[in-house]
Symmetry: C2
Subunit: 175 residues, 2 copies
Amino acid sequence: MERMIIDMDEVMADTMGGMIKWYRAQGYKGEIDYSKMPGGSWGKGFPEEHQAMVRAHLFDPGFFRDLPVMKDCVEVMEQLNKKYNVFIVSAAMEFPNSLKDKLDWLNEHFPFLKWQQLVFCGSKSIVHGDYMIDDLVRNFNGFEGKKYLFSGYHNSEITGYDRLNSWEDAAKIFL
Amino acid sequence: MERMIIDMDEVMADTMGGMIKWYRAQGYKGEIDYSKMPGGSWGKGFPEEHQAMVRAHLFDPGFFRDLPVMKDCVEVMEQLNKKYNVFIVSAAMEFPNSLKDKLDWLNEHFPFLKWQQLVFCGSKSIVHGDYMIDDLVRNFNGFEGKKYLFSGYHNSEITGYDRLNSWEDAAKIFL
């Protein structure tokens, strides 16, 4: 079986969507400017005076526990998991409180994935495999397999990579 | 720089020692039989009627937070970290409550290691590098670099591997 390495945030989990929901729930009504996200992170789309607060919330316990799942991800992942040696690899180590939240989130929404298939790391240069699906090109550094950039506002201007625009796309290519 | 992959439990952390200390602190006076550990796990050295309890304690929050550090590990690791591309790779995913504890433990005792160098996984088949130091031969499966078995009671009868009997040994070989 070929090994497929799949990212969590902005690929399986709608991290930006979860943050916007939280931001609104705090009562903030600032405009989210999607045109400011490319070339950096989606955090740049929040009003400038709230970006530090948004960034800080990534470190709060619970944030990663309640993120929405990306459309079609569960169904496609379940099929991929039968055909490929799937590993979920998240650069979670920067956010110490996210570790347990991410594990619980995976167990809730993807109960067919076993703990043997999960990896929380810092640098993804440590993992190897045949395919990598990620929204951040820096995670492709040194990866020798085939790379697929999962599309989001923050990477929309990047060229030179094969893309997955959705999990439906992933199903067409890999299943 | 060559990449070195180093295990935590029974290599950096004296997990068995921490468990024995906890066991005694509960008031149990059963004999620890080191002759029963080889070929399996150190858990087999505890009185049979307490093995399930000992196993269960691995899942408790806090257990991995307070483990003793192996002798000379901090000093040697600090030097290795200057000469090698060190990654700490722990198969921690089986124990969900250990994740934050292990991260806090590493930050306390090994503050010179950055979060980019840390990996919590299930199967170590996902990582690649030039050297792997581990106490469990199953973690060497599929690893293409050079393997060093870190000695403990539980692996004392295994033959056919280069061994590190201590961190002093590691210093002699790698520094």
